[in-house]
Subunit: 353 residues, 2 copies
């Protein structure tokens, strides 16, 4: 995999499989704090050993419940007296550790440098790129955060070997999303990826790593064009308006990317019903979702209404969706996000079944 250079306001950073970039980050710091959860502690210890510098290790509880201001305040109170502005933070984990740890780093002393080590497929293809930090509020997921870029992202496919099947599927959901946004060709390849084969063999095929690389590249290109989500970047929310509502409904017990996977079908079906989508991809995505043994939403659609309303992208009585005409082609390139009146969303229960 080639290095990817991401340009940001303050310069640029690398997404790389070369550990030396992280090593030189650590070398410039007076002290390094590694943050992980109990699932990724082993990986963090490996990194800590490789870095061989003055360091601290913080092991948090895994799961979305940890992604809260309670954790932020705990970390800030604890490390404000153990670190200083010349310290660095290394985040070893999935999206929860990345989002939370990056927000903590951005708040401590009004920002100290941090480096991302994504250990899940989901965080590799999505959350580690783009500078979004976040915690959840009682009122919804990711409602608080800032934009803040890491000093680098270290990719090690070996970390995926210990990933449970459901977490692999979660990353796959975001991979399909990126593929759908990119092109018909990428979408077809993503849909036909032999994920079970990988899970059984633990061998990252060239095909698999190429798809991950393409997803990272797509995300990089989009966020570089529109870092603060004023326009184009909203396309990355494909499937996410529905997925956020479903996640909230299930109290975050279902992995994010699995909800996105289903959200791609749901929003696609809605788009077809409204005449925006002119492709068979929604049903193909649903078929794949079922094929992989995943469980569909078992509530009433109307139950999602209150969660759709609180989504931070929504303005007043309309709900924002990014619709694709077909893979690789936005329905409305000018507007990107299309507003749908809330009553239109649940007009016909049967469009989702």
């Amino acid at each position: 995999m080639q290095d990817i250079r991401v340009k940001v306001d303050s310069g640029s950073y690398l997404i790389t499989q070369n550990l030396n970039d992280l090593k030189s980050f650590a070398k410039q710091k007076s002290k390094v704090l590694l943050i992980c959860d109990s699932n990724t502690k082993q990986h963090a210890l490996t990194i800590q050993n490789d870095l061989n510098c003055e360091s601290l290790l913080e092991v948090l509880s895994p799961g979305e419940d940890t992604k809260s201001f309670t954790s932020i305040v705990y970390l800030l109170e604890k490390y404000s007296s153990q670190l200083n502005r010349a310290s660095g933070v290394v985040l070893v984990g999935g999206g929860m550790i990345g989002d939370l740890g990056a927000l903590f780093s951005s708040l401590l002393f009004r920002g100290i440098d941090f480096y991302m080590v994504p250990t899940t497929l989901l965080s590799m293809v999505d959350s580690s790129i783009g500078g979004k930090t976040a915690v959840n509020l009682k009122t919804g997921k990711n409602l608080a955060g800032v934009f803040s870029s890491p000093k680098g992202v270290f990719i090690n496919f070996n970390f995926l070997k210990t990933l449970p099947w459901i977490e692999l599927l979660s990353g796959y959901g975001e991979l399909i999303k990126s593929a759908l946004i990119d092109s018909e060709a990428f979408y077809q390849k993503a849909l036909n990826l032999d994920l079970k084969g990988y899970f059984e063999s633990k061998e990252v095929s060239d095909e698999f790593s190429t798809l991950v690389y393409k997803a990272m590249l797509l995300k990089k290109n989009v966020v570089q064009e529109d870092p603060f989500e004023k326009g184009l970047r909203k396309v990355l929310n494909l499937g996410h308006t529905m997925s956020h509502a479903i996640e909230s409904y299930y109290k975050y017990k279902i992995p994010h990317g699995v909800c996105v996977f289903y959200g791609l079908f749901l929003e696609g079906a809605l788009g077809k019903h409204l005449g925006y989508v002119d492709s068979n991809y929604p049903l193909e995505v649903l078929d794949k979702f079922r094929q992989l043994g995943l469980d569909e939403f078992d509530g009433k659609w109307r139950d999602l209404e209150s969660w759709l309303k609180v989504d931070k992208k929504n303005f007043d009585a309309t709900i924002q969706f990014a619709f694709l005409k077909k893979p690789g082609v936005l329905y409305d390139l000018q507007k990107i996000s299309t507003s749908v009146q809330l009553e239109k969303v649940f007009e016909k229960e049967e469009i989702f079944s």
Copy 2:
């Protein structure tokens, strides 16, 4: 007073006495949330009436205790369901409301627009300019925050009429700091300002408003040159290393600018002792402090040690100070902040008396 245009990464904004700038900010927003405390509620109601748009009013408790993550989470949970990304926030109050409200605005949905209406002399000359947002931690003051700029700052000298004497003195401390950094001439004018005359007459003289304007201009020029405090901006911390320690020692019961006022003397005296400062300004500042009836630090100097250590500017065993050779002249323009070994700071108790 002329408008001051502040350039920031995302464009620029105005510091202005013209209410139309705030009015046009509000007009562009779907809804406006005004945040104030019970001391500034009357001013907020006046502004709310002037704006005449769809709005909400949040009245917080006054005082440093409110500047915490407890308040941030309260505001985020409450307003994440009542506002959206097209909403705006107007902050009517002193430094506490400004620092807290700007951090809240910067975190909600990863940042919604906010506008500052400083109602104290301190916030006019200092905290409303420069994009620093903050809350206090148990471990120290302003240890958490982000850099984030307002869309404008509205200055109305009438708000100062209701300001208690001690709050006026607090602003005066920061005014003297700005004057010291700027030049001998500005420093002399600031030192000779008839503050009591203003407090009795409530008439803002041309002389007074000119000094406020010059202080805002100095701050603007410094932060524009160095928005993220990588170098030059550290000069604005003149007097602040000591003042933060004193504030922490007294559990924030003494207004910030009063501590800065005394900190200017303390750091000046330390600088003289160490041979950095070659001017009589430290004693002049102390004389003025006493003349105005303010109480000096009544603890032991060593009691400040633990608070000096936690200051977020400090790297390891040294304490950072910005020293002036004399008014308007930095001791070390290359380094700006000069490191002093902690044991050197309290070498001789008598240098501070």
